[in-house]
């Protein structure tokens, strides 16, 4: 029982990071039909911006702020303007392929500038083991969960309780009518790219102390978040949250109770089951599209 509690708490913590990255997938898809296959690398890169800041003598907190600001400029605004806008004119598929190319370019670029060695990254939360009902729970897991939940709540507040958030939702649900009502659709789409850049930066700060900063560290995370978004429902933010948490817990339980060797197969099995029996995802809604 105590092991189960530990696994569920740490699974939720990992799941919170998956959820943050998966939310980014769903936001970009809903507002601009962008499937960003470089999303994992988008989580890897901010940590390197922050490391660069610290190497220049900045304190950790300042490096986080500067790294996030640079990420917003590059992974948010520049990504949209330089890659998404020109490629989307040719369709969603060419854009998806372009993001795969971007992912390779980002990995190779980091390898070129920083080398292939994994680099340590300071943790926002000190690692102390707490004991609860016989289970050992790390403060890092709790911290990850707390920051993840806070980020999700902040996003939910923005989307549901502010005028800008509702304009973003309107843009995602019916861009043509949004335009007719005078909603600045282009600006709303840009906001979703900026929010995605902030989410991946938060995920980067949370995850890099655990997996270290390395050019390839986004690969697994990107795939996990993509699966989480599909499992939860690609067109629902709350689906991405559910998918992320579910995947985090399943991953942990599978590693302990099934086999560590088959650990990475379990999310894929979950993905196949969802695609077969509920292709719109657990909380997603079926969409009609003209092809």
């Amino acid at each position: 029982m105590s092991t189960l509690i530990s696994l569920i708490v740490s699974g939720c913590a990992t799941g919170a990071i998956y959820a943050l990255v998966a939310i980014g997938f769903t936001l970009l898809w809903q507002t601009s039909q962008t499937i960003n296959f470089a999303q994992g690398e988008f989580v890897m890169l901010p940590a390197f911006f922050m490391l660069a800041g610290m190497n220049m003598g900045m304190p950790f907190w300042l490096a986080i702020l500067v790294g996030t600001a640079i990420s917003v400029a590059i992974l948010g605004a520049a990504f949209k303007r330089a890659l998404v806008d020109p490629m989307l004119r040719h369709g969603a598929l060419p854009l998806a392929i372009a993001t795969m190319a971007l992912s390779i370019m980002m990995k190779e670029g980091v390898k070129e500038f920083y080398g292939a060695e994994a680099q340590p990254f300071p943790s926002l939360i000190p690692a102390i083991d707490l004991h609860f009902l016989g289970a050992t729970i790390s403060t890092q897991s709790l911290g990850l969960l707390a920051v993840g939940v806070a980020a999700v709540l902040a996003l939910q507040y923005l989307l549901n309780s502010t005028s800008v958030g509702r304009q973003m939702q309107a843009t995602a649900q019916n861009p043509n009518v949004a335009r007719i009502l005078g909603i600045p659709v282009e600006r709303m789409v840009m906001y979703s790219f900026i929010i995605n850049a902030i989410l991946v930066s938060v995920a980067s700060v949370l995850v890099t102390p655990l997996y270290l900063a390395k050019f390839s560290s986004g690969e697994t995370l990107g795939l996990a978040a993509f699966i989480a978004a599909i499992v939860g429902g690609f067109n629902q933010v709350r689906g991405a949250i559910l998918g992320g948490i579910l995947l985090g817990i399943t991953d942990n339980l599978a590693a302990t109770y099934i086999s560590t060797q088959y650990r990475s197969a379990v999310p894929l099995a979950l993905l196949i089951a969802v695609i077969l029996f509920r292709p719109q995802g657990l909380l997603g809604t079926a969409e009609e599209r003209t092809v």
Binding site: Q167, V177, I180, L181, I183
Partner: protein, 251 residues
């Protein structure tokens, strides 16, 4: 055919040419919409009816020609500027945000005003008072509304900024006869308040019966522009509805 209007003109199109890509749909469309009137645009499929609306509303670029609204050249203005100027556009079909609540759907009709108006809450309440079904479902997702209720939502939302010209495309499509009557009654009431209405309607006879003026479009040109009762009585229009072509004005 053309008639002279003695009253103020809300909207005037002069020789508007527009289309999609290489295809030209409007070939020099010209007509006037008098203030405080209902003007119905009819014509066969492909005549350019919806394209006229999109061009007036800045969704499609006019290549040449002019769109003048209350004396001001508004050609190729953005929808947001046109909304601010007093034009609202209610397109064909269902135009809601299905996952937002009814109230939030209506509220989005005021985005173009920015912080320019302070009584949005009161305006929304007034709109909801008018349609009890919307009032009952104000906090439900808009996707739970029936087709007629969705059209009512679009009308309430469109009227939120007190437009002086309403462009409404096929308001009766998919609605029950009772709902059509109700929608037409709202448009008549607006007209009586001085709002100009430009409407496209497939149910041409009913629409012309409640209209002041009618426009017959064919191949992107105004073939007939006359009082609605005169158009209803025109044998050439009957021929058009039966699928025959009409002779160009003066031809």
């Amino acid at each position: 055919m053309a008639i002279e209007h003695t009253g103020d003109i809300a909207l005037e199109l002069s020789d508007v040419v527009a289309g999609y890509g290489q295809m030209t749909i409007l070939n020099g469309t010209s007509f006037k919409v008098p203030e405080g009137s209902i003007t119905t645009v009819i014509g066969p499929n492909g005549a350019g009816k919806s394209t006229v609306f999109k061009t007036i509303y800045g969704m499609l670029r006019a290549r040449t020609g002019k769109v003048v609204f209350h004396g001001k050249d508004v050609t190729n203005w953005t929808p947001r500027r046109l909304l601010e100027a007093g034009i609202c556009y209610i397109p064909q079909g269902r135009n809601i945000f299905p996952q937002l609540s009814v109230r939030h759907n209506i509220e989005l009709g005021a985005v173009a005003a920015g912080r320019g108006i302070s009584d949005i809450g009161q305006r929304i309440e007034k709109g909801l008072d008018r349609f009890p079904a919307l009032r009952r479902k104000a906090n439900q997702q808009a996707s739970t509304l029936s087709g007629g209720e969705q059209k009512q939502l679009e009308i309430v939302r469109g009227l939120l900024l007190d437009p002086r010209l309403v462009l409404i495309d096929e308001p009766s499509i998919g609605l029950s006869p009772l709902m059509v009557q109700e929608t037409f009654a709202i448009l008549t009431e607006l007209r009586n308040q001085g709002v100009a209405i430009l409407m496209i309607e497939q149910n041409a006879r009913s629409a012309l019966a409640m209209s002041d003026y009618g426009i017959v479009l064919e191949l992107g040109q105004t073939r007939i522009f006359d009082r609605a009762e005169a158009i209803l009585a025109d044998p050439r229009v009957a021929a058009l509805f039966l699928g025959g072509a009409i002779t160009p004005a003066g031809g």
